[in-house]
């Protein structure tokens, strides 16, 4: 029966594509940026995804792990990731150089509901590595600026050196069609010109919010959700317009291995983007 195996390839959802690392550099001490391209050119160009989706990246011998796609589908061809060193797979990725090959499969998950977000105000709050999925949405909104109304970004990091995509966001501050507020918990450089304080203090900086027409997107470390949601609920933003991405352990990404299950839902299929309304109804969430 082994001889027949070839024809299965196309239907095997676990079979990775080969992708080449075309660029990689440190964003912070323990977070690296990876730009990859699927080796087969037509696949690279026809690869479709939506902001908020993730991919499984694998390193031969080390294993496979889920990572949010950080680039935007409005700039096809290259896929970008920011990856924190956490264990076996991520360590192996950190050792890889430009031109090295990785396994790649995806995109997986639901992603952000862009159709619903159209013609609405977009308020993005990120902390730490939460930029990974939200940068994708942000760039998508900026690339399709006429499809959205106000776009604002609140971005917090512990210290200036830990702010991921610091330069990119500083540059974005110059744009007049984006309201961008950056904060660090503490400034150990003495040269920080932006806000000091936790990310929730940035809510005070926002101009008046059109509550009914605002989608608030959150991603960050678990502790951040609690505080940010409290602010958003205080502002009266409808619970089904508060969107967050959740992290769970994932082994397959395709709704089979069970690891990402929360109550009834499989985070890899039904998530990782959930509304606050969903979250209230799931007993095990945050």
């Amino acid at each position: 029966m082994n001889g027949e195996n070839k024809q299965l390839t196309k239907t095997n959802p676990f079979m990775p594509e080969t992708a080449r690392i075309v660029r990689t550099y440190h964003l912070t001490e323990d977070v690296k940026f990876f730009q990859v391209r699927i080796v087969e050119m037509d696949k690279a160009l026809s690869f479709k995804y939506r902001p908020g989706q993730f991919a499984m990246i694998s390193v031969l011998g080390a294993g496979e792990a889920p990572f949010s796609i950080s680039s935007t589908p409005s700039r096809p061809g290259l896929l970008e990731f920011c990856i924190r060193k956490a264990g076996t797979v991520t360590n192996a990725l950190f050792r890889m150089k430009e031109n090295d090959l990785v396994g790649f499969r995806g995109p997986y998950g639901n992603g952000f509901p862009l159709e619903k977000m159209k013609d609405k105000d977009i308020l993005i709050t990120v902390g730490g590595l939460g930029v990974a999925p939200l940068r994708s949405v942000l760039l998508y909104c900026l690339d399709n600026r006429d499809q959205f109304r106000r776009v604002s970004l609140l971005h917090g990091a512990k210290r200036p050196a830990e702010m991921i995509f610091r330069e990119e966001f500083f540059a974005l501050k110059q744009r007049e069609d984006l309201e961008c507020h950056l904060a660090v918990d503490e400034d150990d450089t003495g040269t920080w010109t932006e806000n000091i304080g936790v990310v929730t203090t940035l809510f005070l900086k926002l101009k008046e919010i059109d509550i009914a027409n605002t989608f608030a997107l959150i991603c960050g470390p678990p502790v951040m959700y609690k505080f940010v949601i409290k602010e958003l609920v205080k502002l009266n933003i409808p619970k089904d317009q508060i969107l967050m991405t959740l992290e769970r352990r994932m082994k397959c990404g395709v709704g089979k291995c069970g690891h990402c299950a929360i109550d009834y839902v499989y985070t890899c299929l039904d998530g990782p983007v959930f509304t606050y309304w969903d979250v209230i109804h799931m007993r095990e969430l945050i």
């Binding site: 029966m1 082994n2 027949e4 195996n5 299965l8 390839t9 239907t11 095997n12 959802p13 676990f14 079979m15 990775p16 080969t18 031969l60 011998g61 080390a62 294993g63 496979e64 924190r84 956490a86 264990g87 991520t90 396994g103 678990p222 992290e247 769970r248 352990r249 082994k251 397959c252 395709v254 709704g255 089979k256 291995c257 069970g258 690891h259 299950a261 929360i262 109550d263 009834y264 299929l269 007993r283 095990e284």
Partner: protein
């Protein structure tokens, strides 16, 4: 569906012939329990077997197998676990379990490792008689109308054989003269009597319809903490349950080389490492929370989605859990029956 008749004397000759087509797995005795096995001598077959220790999925989808061989050249799929198999002696509840897994593995993304193996496995069902653990009648999984290639109902000196698929029909055609299409009225009456008697043989039942609400209402009940204190987090309940599907994927590197394998093996949500994420954060640190997930899946989630539980009443968790946490005790505790006796038992286990 066509039904034919096979005299008991003709069973072994029939099995002899079909065993030339594929590996034939049959139920045999192992100490006081039963397992599926490939045998040379059909007299080893236990026609009146109770539940096998492990469910049928273990035969076609091994607990541990290679998904890919990896080398510098890349990934090479490995489907060597897919071989032609015939499983004889699968009970109705287990066939229901297979249907649940089949549907699950066809949903959204097709799991080719499961589906290819399943496609190459013929299911020859066999009727059974309930013992003290069985409660398949509660979930209406004590009878079966689909999901098998042949189904043998074990009556006096003959079997009634339901032909459930064209592959099942092909098996019969290998030697049609062993079968007897002509059913006598007497045979039919024997079947009717047998069925009535069997229906009455179930010793206990559980009200599945009440459980989704009770899971919700008692989600914060201290009963879960008490169960959690008793649970050994051994994962046995998941290993034996015919509707558990969870697995883990691990890279295995060959010593010294670049070559390796990507292995898939069974996992269990009752194990601690199951839900751990980067940074050591664990969303289900507590055993109580992991048991809640298990029982949410068996007693609540599937019922809400498909109108029936993902428990098929096989009784394996009852026969297996070393500390008596199982669908029966948990179900009864949720309903509020037999609670004291249950806690007395559980507490005895804890202090042991």
């Amino acid at each position: 569906m066509r039904i034919t008749k096979l005299k008991k004397d003709n069973l072994f000759p029939f099995l002899e012939i079909i065993s030339e087509e594929a590996d034939l797995w049959v139920p045999v005795k192992k100490e006081d329990k039963h397992v599926f096995k490939v045998v040379d001598d059909f007299s080893e077959i236990e026609m009146n077997s109770t539940r096998t220790i492990l469910p049928p999925r273990k035969i076609f989808l091994p607990p541990n197998f290679n998904m890919f061989s990896v080398s510098e050249k890349g990934y090479k799929e490995d489907f060597s676990h897919v071989t032609k198999k015939i499983l004889f002696g699968v009970h109705p509840c287990d066939i229901h379990g297979l249907i649940i897994l089949d549907n699950f593995n066809k949903q959204a993304y097709l799991d080719s490792y499961y589906l290819e193996a399943r496609k190459n496995t013929l299911i020859l069902g066999l009727s059974c008689w309930p013992d003290e653990y069985c409660f398949a009648k509660s979930s209406n999984t004590h009878v079966i109308e689909e999901g098998y290639d042949l189904f043998f109902t074990n009556l006096e000196d003959f079997f009634l054989v339901w032909i459930g698929s064209s592959q099942g029909d092909d098996l019969i055609r290998l030697k049609p003269e062993l079968f007897d299409e002509e059913l006598k009225n007497k045979d039919i009456q024997t079947y009717i009597n047998w069925q009535a008697e069997r229906n009455n043989a179930y010793k206990w039942n559980i009200n599945f319809a009440a459980l989704p609400d009770l899971m919700e209402l008692k989600y914060k009940d201290p009963l879960w903490e008490r169960l959690g204190d008793a649970c050994l987090a051994c994962g046995s309940c998941s290993n034996v349950c015919p509707t558990c599907n969870c697995y883990n994927i691990m890279d295995k590197q060959c010593l010294g080389g670049k070559d390796g394998k990507i292995m898939r093996h069974w996992d269990a949500c009752t194990l601690k490492e199951y839900s751990e994420v980067a940074g050591g954060e664990n969303f289900r640190e507590k055993r109580a929370d992991r048991l809640k997930l298990w029982y949410t899946h068996k007693l609540q989630a599937y019922i809400s989605k498909y109108g029936k539980p993902s428990c098929v009443g096989c009784g394996r968790c009852i026969a297996t859990c070393p500390v008596d946490i199982n669908v029966r005790t948990v179900g009864k505790a949720l309903i509020g029956e037999e609670v004291d006796a249950f806690w007395a038992r559980i507490n005895k286990e804890v202090t042991k």
